[in-house]
């Protein structure tokens, strides 16, 4: 079992000395390949900040972060963009589909940034839409879809470049309980297929669906930071640097 996420002493401080806000105060956290982890915590706990750093949308003030065996703390903006593109699939509470682009194009977009050819993009996007059960809506605009359908598109888009990690931020927050449950079913299905999922939520009932729960409060992990698996105790430095970071791995 290889490690997808490993952080040590992850710290994030906003603002200058006098008015500094310590959002994260040394997070030690790990997710193994194939795990389904729920990150829970009340609002203001720092889970959004952690989510942004884990998603390579923001850089930590201090500490180390290894994603799929590669140190990503201290990388440049362009390098982080490549990591987000190839290693991470995002699912947001508000879907964040591009309203002017068709469903198909929305799913194609990460592959476009990865530099895939037109035909290959189209085939894979259609296959992914098929997988989430809305291939018939490929040519529609997002506005023509229901909330649950939009979130399925978002999941298809997140899977586009076969990411190492699926990051879902309150994915059911904007859905009614029935469609929310359908989306969670979809996540469990993906988990069963071997995908690594990190689900961020404040709702304990949703977190209960995950294999493992990590609770964060006041910028610290208070429960379940590392899986209780003896093989995961390897040190971060033990990973060979030759491991290739790239598209589709």
């Amino acid at each position: 079992m290889s490690t997808i996420i490993r952080t040590q002493g992850l710290t994030k401080v906003y603002g200058a000395n006098g008015t500094a806000v310590h959002a994260l105060r040394g997070i030690d956290f790990a997710v193994e390949k194939g795990e389904f982890v729920a990150l829970i915590g009340p609002s203001g706990s720092g889970k959004s900040t952690l989510m942004a750093i884990l998603g390579c949308l923001d850089a930590p003030t201090a500490g180390t972060y290894e994603l799929d065996g590669h140190a990503v703390h201290g990388l440049s903006g362009g390098e982080l963009a490549r990591i987000r593109n190839g290693k991470i699939g995002f699912v947001f509470q508000s879907y964040n589909l591009l309203p002017k682009a068709s469903i198909l194009r929305n799913v194609e977009l990460p592959m476009l940034y990865a530099g895939l050819g037109r035909r290959e993009r189209r085939e894979r996007a259609l296959a992914l839409l098929e997988k989430v059960g809305i291939a018939d809506k490929a040519d529609k605009l997002p506005a023509a879809l229901s909330g649950g359908q939009k979130q399925r598109v978002a999941v298809a888009r997140a899977l586009a470049n076969e990411p190492a990690l699926l990051l879902a931020d309150e994915p059911t927050g904007a859905l009614d309980s029935r469609t929310g449950a359908e989306v969670l079913d979809l996540f469990r299905e993906l988990h069963a297929q071997g995908h690594t999922l990190l689900l961020v939520t404040h709702d304990p009932s949703i977190a209960a669906q995950a294999e493992r729960r990590v609770e964060i409060r006041d910028g610290k992990v208070v429960m379940g930071g590392v899986a209780e698996d003896p093989t995961s105790s390897a040190q971060p430095g033990a990973h060979p640097a030759a491991h290739h970071i790239g598209v589709g791995r």
Binding site: L57, G77, G78, N85, Y113, G115
Partner: protein, 416 residues
């Protein structure tokens, strides 16, 4: 994926964005459109005027002429003091000049004028008479319509023969053919052997014929004027014209000729050289000033449009922060975002510029038509207008695109 594929994708994206925001995009394109139209229109109007002026010189007998004229002409046989002291312009100057570059000079003609009483069976008028030699007729854009031109022996001998312009023919011989008729010039009876084609040139359609006076010509051999009308012992002439088709030779020849004629004239500066090509260059350089003014007004229009575009782009960027954040989350780098915004702006500029070229053609056509000048447009005007629009589009797109590319992905995603 090839870079052309990536470019095509960006172009497609930009096109979708423009189509979705047609109102905003039209406003942005409008500034470019007006700028391009004004640059192109300005250039075309000045090109049209210039072309018309060149046509005039061609009709005057070509651009490849160097005229030599006395500074003060002899009128009615009365020489000025300067000419009395010197020899004046004379046939010798023509032969000496011809000897300088016989290889490059294609023709030499001289002109000797007189003013005299001209009498026919129908009219009796005081008229200028033009004594001509060499290839005067083609060199001045005349052509014989009826009858014939002067033979070499008639020119040499100063035979009493004449060719009339249309107005002169109509005045002195209002009925019947003038050919073979006799006209008395002063005391000399001359036979009409030909008539010239009518000369017409109007700068604008509604203006009068500026060649009207050329139809009044009464042409006789220069030697006839010299020998039997108002000649003198020095065989002075009123104009010598050299034809030099190779315009590169012209400037050098002009200097040599200046020296030779000055030497012939006892170092007196009593003549002037008139290089037709140089005259046109001077006139064209005046046209360049207008070009500059048109260019400047076009540039100002483009700058104005550019500033408006920056404002619109910055305002629209506020609406699109979220979109930029999503694209960044999906893996678009800042450079990718920058290129996307630039592509959109440049596509918009290109479309606006194309529309501007069309409008500019219409604009030029309308104005030149109202002036009555035929429309002339050069490829250079189109290229200039297009390049300037693209340049301004590029420069003014840089700032909004740079701003967008520098957004933090996390903050952009959370932007409401």
């Amino acid at each position: 994926m090839t870079s052309s594929g990536a470019f095509r994708e960006r172009l497609l994206e930009a096109w979708m964005e423009i189509r979705e925001n047609l109102g905003r995009a039209s406003l942005q394109a409008l500034g470019v459109l007006l700028g391009v139209a004004s640059v192109l229109g300005g250039f075309s109007i000045s090109d049209s005027q210039r072309q018309r002026a060149e046509q005039l010189y061609v009709r005057l007998g070509g651009l490849d002429k160097l005229n030599v004229q006395p500074r003060a002409t002899v009128r009615d046989g009365q020489a000025t003091a300067l000419q009395q002291a010197n020899l004046g312009l004379r046939d010798e100057d023509a032969t000496d000049g011809d000897a300088l570059r016989p290889d490059a000079i294609q023709g030499v003609s001289s002109q000797k004028n007189a003013r005299s009483r001209v009498v026919s069976g129908f009219a009796d008028q005081d008229r200028p008479v033009t004594g001509i030699g060499g290839d005067f007729i083609p060199a001045n854009g005349y052509a014989v319509e009826a009858g014939r031109g002067f033979s070499a022996s008639e020119l040499e001998a100063g035979a009493p023969v004449a060719i009339l312009g249309t107005e002169a023919a109509a005045t002195f011989f209002p009925s019947g053919s003038p050919l073979g008729q006799v006209l008395r010039i002063g005391e000399v009876p001359v036979t009409v052997i030909g008539t010239f084609q009518e000369r017409v040139f109007r700068f604008r359609e509604d203006q009068r014929n500026i060649f009207r006076w050329r139809n009044r010509i009464i042409a006789v051999p220069a030697n006839l004027v010299q020998r039997r009308m108002n000649g003198d012992a020095y065989r002075r002439v009123d104009r010598i014209t050299f034809r030099i088709p190779d315009l590169k030779v012209m400037a050098a020849f002009s200097k040599q000729l200046q020296d030779v004629v000055t030497a012939n004239h006892r170092l007196q500066d009593d003549f002037r050289l008139d290089d037709v090509q140089a005259r046109i260059r001077r006139q064209n350089s005046q046209g360049d000033v207008y070009d500059l003014i048109f260019l400047l007004s076009g540039v100002l229009a483009l700058v104005g449009g550019g500033i408006v575009n920056v404002n619109i782009q910055m305002a629209s960027l506020k609406e699109r922060v979220r979109e930029v954040g999503v694209k960044m989350a999906l893996g678009a780098s800042g450079r990718e975002i920058f290129k996307g915004f630039m592509t959109e702006a440049l596509l918009l500029t290109a479309l606006g510029a194309l529309a501007g070229l069309v409008l500019g053609v219409g604009f030029s056509w309308t104005i030149t038509r109202s002036l009555g000048v035929p429309l002339a447009m050069t490829p250079a005007s189109f290229i200039w207008a297009y390049v300037m629009a693209s340049l301004s589009g590029f420069l003014f797109a840089l700032y909004p695109a740079w701003k967008a590319s520098r957004l933090s992905p996390m903050e952009a995603l959370r932007y409401e």
